[in-house]
Symmetry: C2
Amino acid sequence: MNKIGLKSSPNSAKHDDMANAIRALSMDAVQAANSGHPGMPMGMADVATVLFSKFLKFDPAKPDWPDRDRFVLSAGHGSMLLYSLLYLTGYKDMTLEEIKNFRQLGSKTAGHPEYGHAKGIETTTGPLGQGLAMAVGMALAERLQAARYKEITDHYTYVIAGDGCLMEGISHEAISFAGHLKLNKLIVLWDDNSISIDGSTDLAVSDDQAKRFEAHGWDVQAVDGHDATEIEKAIAAAKETDRPSLIACRTTIGFGAPNKQGTSGVHGAPLGEEEVALARKELGWPHTPFDIPVEILDKWRAVGTKGARLSAAWEDSFKALPEEQRTMFNADINGNLPSALDDAMLDFKRQLVDDAPAWATRKSSQEALKVINEKVTTTIGGSADLTGSNLTKTPQTEPVTAEDFSGRYIYYGVREFGMAAIMNGMALHKGFIPYGGTFMVFTDYARPAIRLSALMEQRVVYVMTHDSIGLGEDGPTHQPVEHLAALRAMPNLNVFRPADAVETSECWHLALQSKKTPSVLSLSRQNLELVRKTHTADNLCARGAYELAPANLEAKVTILATGSEVAIALAAQKLLESDGVGTRVVSVPSWELFEKQDDAYKKETLREDTVRIAVEAGCSMGWEKFTGPNGGFIGINSFGASAPAGDLYKHFGITAEAVAAAAKDRL
Amino acid sequence: MNKIGLKSSPNSAKHDDMANAIRALSMDAVQAANSGHPGMPMGMADVATVLFSKFLKFDPAKPDWPDRDRFVLSAGHGSMLLYSLLYLTGYKDMTLEEIKNFRQLGSKTAGHPEYGHAKGIETTTGPLGQGLAMAVGMALAERLQAARYKEITDHYTYVIAGDGCLMEGISHEAISFAGHLKLNKLIVLWDDNSISIDGSTDLAVSDDQAKRFEAHGWDVQAVDGHDATEIEKAIAAAKETDRPSLIACRTTIGFGAPNKQGTSGVHGAPLGEEEVALARKELGWPHTPFDIPVEILDKWRAVGTKGARLSAAWEDSFKALPEEQRTMFNADINGNLPSALDDAMLDFKRQLVDDAPAWATRKSSQEALKVINEKVTTTIGGSADLTGSNLTKTPQTEPVTAEDFSGRYIYYGVREFGMAAIMNGMALHKGFIPYGGTFMVFTDYARPAIRLSALMEQRVVYVMTHDSIGLGEDGPTHQPVEHLAALRAMPNLNVFRPADAVETSECWHLALQSKKTPSVLSLSRQNLELVRKTHTADNLCARGAYELAPANLEAKVTILATGSEVAIALAAQKLLESDGVGTRVVSVPSWELFEKQDDAYKKETLREDTVRIAVEAGCSMGWEKFTGPNGGFIGINSFGASAPAGDLYKHFGITAEAVAAAAKDRL
């Protein structure tokens, strides 16, 4: 245990008052909720006080100020630290009432910080390690923006991370990536308290974190996390390095709670009335619960108002820009698409119908991206070391390097999870539309970050190629089977599985238009013939499912298909109709968009009076909803195998013949 | 590019012949398949030749010899390296015919090594980083086994890892964990070739790997990966350290292919006929494709037969053990459960019915584990830093530490993915039944390893607590919604969601009995009343779903429910029957087991003649299969929220009243 209490404190009384205000609000709120994590806010109160009062550039009255510093509480369980700071510095959203309603239904003060609940919460955190990785994305976005708008871009990204964040694998991806790109305006304050939930961190970890970060090209300092002067010096020094910075802040978890501090007992449970009372004594904080004396509140509010001068100065710089730049900047920050995009996409689609290319949809995606990246200058592409496979790079997107941030393409390395979290950070920063590729099967690696894209309603586009056994020889470790189902199960995620070049361009267009929903594009490795032979101005994929090929005879059968299996559906239609069975084919590029249609459209599309067979080279889960209890499903409910794609489709019985037979069995 | 060809080689002719045999088979097989990764096998042929010929303890005639060294090809795309070695050293499974059928349907030589396809393949690899983490699990299992059977346990675990493996986040978790436990018999050979798929690794990474590994407590050496003498010295030295070892092997990817070596062009595509011919010249390998001259094959086979002496010596040591120890060891390795377990579980279940405890199912799990861990001595528990929340520790399981491996409990730290992969490694090693806990929502973090448990048919038990909005205040980041669906979509995974203490004990029993299927136990944070009030000798959960409460009136409604919502179903039953609507309740602890039942049982359980309503505090996906098109679902298809659990159930409308209303609407 470290030193404790005011007597031995090297800090000014002003600092201690301000820090203790955080401690008091945190322990009181957790106690009132009878649930939460007091240990981290109490331990990191000194660090946070120095950061917010001396360094962080922010204006509570203009929380969306684009050039504000970003603050990410990666150890999200310490949410009361953030809520306290937002209240104390004067964010209007964050009233004392909200603090008192910590962890209650409908409050802005959720158990973990939730993006969108209140201004000043820069990102949702809680799933450990991801805050750090998202902060890397924000710091990257700052560099990218500075390359475009250097006169008005100069902000830092600060992170508070805990031991848990640094144990998570994603911390490696994030740290390594940040070191590689020399993201020098990223400063991580590590709450080095040697305690995790199970007890002392000695139980599970013996890392030399300083050496570790240095190995990845970071600047590293260590300070007493309760010494305001040391903290201030370290942050000032960190701002001057040419590398990302780690500041190890040695703290006592639950600082001030005399019997519980320095133990795991203070990590994730209320202190209890008695210990709260003792902590009040220990800290020299005689005030009643939730009472912040006006003179202390004033000190904090002065910090908040200081930011107003800085934001006003920035406004002046902004106004000094040429109008064209101002307009473009605002459009970038608002995430608007240029109006020229619609026409370009329409022209492209028309051309596709004329040319009828038999591209793999990953190739169709690249061709669509060539059109998009020409018109939309805010897209930032990338791939987790599969650029030539995902086909995510276009001539417009030069690589981003540590020396030059004017490019638009990120070599993420073999870091799927990191890539996804970094894209979340870029999207949250605003000004960019990130998209990134890997194999569909590795959505599993990225899944926790895809979930945060969805939860935070961020427009991130996942370009997931090699989307079925159709990838062939790489075998079951690389063949998604359950992934479409697993992704469709996730709330607020649009999963697109286009059937050809036309549908791919339509789905890309929809993904860009979905400002509050991330998208997964599920794309084939193998070539696919064009199935959309007639040009339509309408985006047919926008309805999620549509009749692609009507029956020539009276419709007895409806085949529902997605992606690469639409061609199989069309072949099955031929077989059935040649046997006198009227058959229609419905393409289903997006379940989610289809489910948003009205009942009448759903009915006329699904046609319950017909025998319905679904065909998709994935597992059957959920298809019963569309095929009904007497319907059929042709797909694969086991793991795949290693062989040429054609052999696999036959082996697993995903063929036109099988579809036709399944339909006939049910007539 | 490094030096190339025989002229400058510091190696013996014998070594070069043996290494070139690997190179030739690898490039020929990839060429014949017109698909695959020749670069890594050609680059690492020298290292592998030294490892297999001078160090690796194995007997091709006894591939299951328990004390063999383990070899893990973490860079699984270089599968031809492993297949070549297995063929050359004389594993019967691995014929030349199999090599010629590389990547073809039904061959043992899948694109990536698949566990179970052929002896000598210790684990499935391909998803990068996981091989390394599984090797950590194997090396841990060796230490655990040595603590029990020291006379007959002394083997090393060797890994070949690539740049991609070391970029993945899981490498951090694995390296940090191995360093913490000082797993000194783990030796990692890093294929340091500076090339990944996108090109030079400089594009994406600037790590100082030596420093990084040292920061985690590893011994580090660096060698010329084409110098047999250097390699030999390094491995010999690595065996003597008291820490895990990294040997950085500087290699030229595709060594021997004169125009393509040292480039990403040789990573994942056939060399082409012309380059293959040139490589033959460069390497001084005049033999025709797939032809290994008998004198070279003899050299390799001599290596294989050398192992027979070692395995015979081990047999002698084994025979010298007391019979009781031999019997126990064989039972451990075979993974048999003691016959006493069945009775103990039955007694426990009877006691539960008598006591009727209203435990959270996480608590019920702990109580079941107390019984299990008393009878089954091979269970190895653990948690990813949530021991007190997952309740995975019992009095029988003392912590495993670097100083003492006689314990049975692992503090995995905040490393969910690493934990899962390490458990896979322990299961593959044999001798242990690993189980580990985290929050259900973090199955997302562990998902790629859960998938490998399923694909490799390993008995790993995932104890996933806090399994719904019922966890309350921690909010949407911690509340699983889509996770049951996402896990049920995965092939060969049993997902159990027990409703009370009795069902929990039954599900635990089933999980242990499932030798070829991993299990997820989905467990509540909140207390649940006992719903199984009558003792049955039969394990009712074994059928996946069963009628828990028959209707008292003529059955008009069937309510299907799982886990914590079974109580809600029973309350709804009361409401409906008091309104004169005969209602039965079916508990559905496992979809997977239910789907294996015969049609008659399914029909009598689901009762299609009744209105069927499913209730589960998760998303609706897939339930249509059981409820039919006119059925209903009460659950949650959005993200959760932060609030006390009771408030959330009301807020999201998961109540007995809502179930009853949904049923009445459909009558």
